[in-house]
Symmetry: C3
Subunit: 101 residues, 3 copies
């Protein structure tokens, strides 16, 4: 079983740092980073910020470790971390399994 | 239970307007906007357009209201609106629940 | 039933070519392309590349054909191809079904 872990950071540098750490620690096979604008409510005000989103492809068995590692490294008090299960091309899913084993 | 609602708009202004309205109306906790190129079939031709994608993080119980509000505000006759269920970091999911309650 | 097929390419040209082919072949209703930075492990090294991501909206019954067509056209030895099931606005899902029938 495989999953996406999706999180956001305040800079591209932080996104790349987290991405490299997850791949080096075999908590992710591949990570895609893209620039976003975020709109959210914080302490009663609507805030808008430029951020960077990470889409982390990993084994479902590694999700909790990946979440814990992201929270340890992250500069935010409460980072946005969501996950969902994926399927896909069998050869590619096998590669994700190998890279995170 | 929590979900992503994903939709697209023709301008960044429209994306931001919908995002702010959903957050103000407690139909979303946080929205990420990014620029896309869309390729699709319309009346027999392949069309390509620049658009903006919104990834709306919300409670699953608010999905239908969020979809209805997006359709009311949207400039398109048939806006692309898709959803999928998410899991994630417990603290962050709790924050989504609180922001949409 | 409907799904996203998500894949990445090394250029925008390749992304657009695959997107047009899938839509023309009724293997997708609509495709959103955006620029990404990818971080992954390849033969023991951490690699970083600029790529383009395709989010392909289609009928779940067309996923395998879409995956096969992407693999035939793709310049990579092992393209990243993942999928997940979606729900959404009934009118829009009906349009996806019609465009891929």
């Amino acid at each position: 079983m495989h999953s996406i872990v999706y999180t956001t950071t305040s800079s591209k540098e932080e996104a790349r740092k987290i991405a490299r750490e997850l791949v080096e620690g075999k908590l992710a096979a591949c990570i895609n980073i893209h620039e976003i604008d975020s709109v959210y409510s914080w302490e009663g005000n609507i805030e808008e910020e430029q951020e960077f989103a990470l889409s982390v492809k990993t084994a479902t068995s590694k999700i909790q470790q990946a979440i814990d590692r992201i929270k340890e490294m992250h500069s935010y008090e409460l980072p946005a971390i969501i996950t969902w299960k994926i399927s896909g091309d069998k050869e590619y899913l096998k590669w994700i399994s190998e890279m995170t084993d």
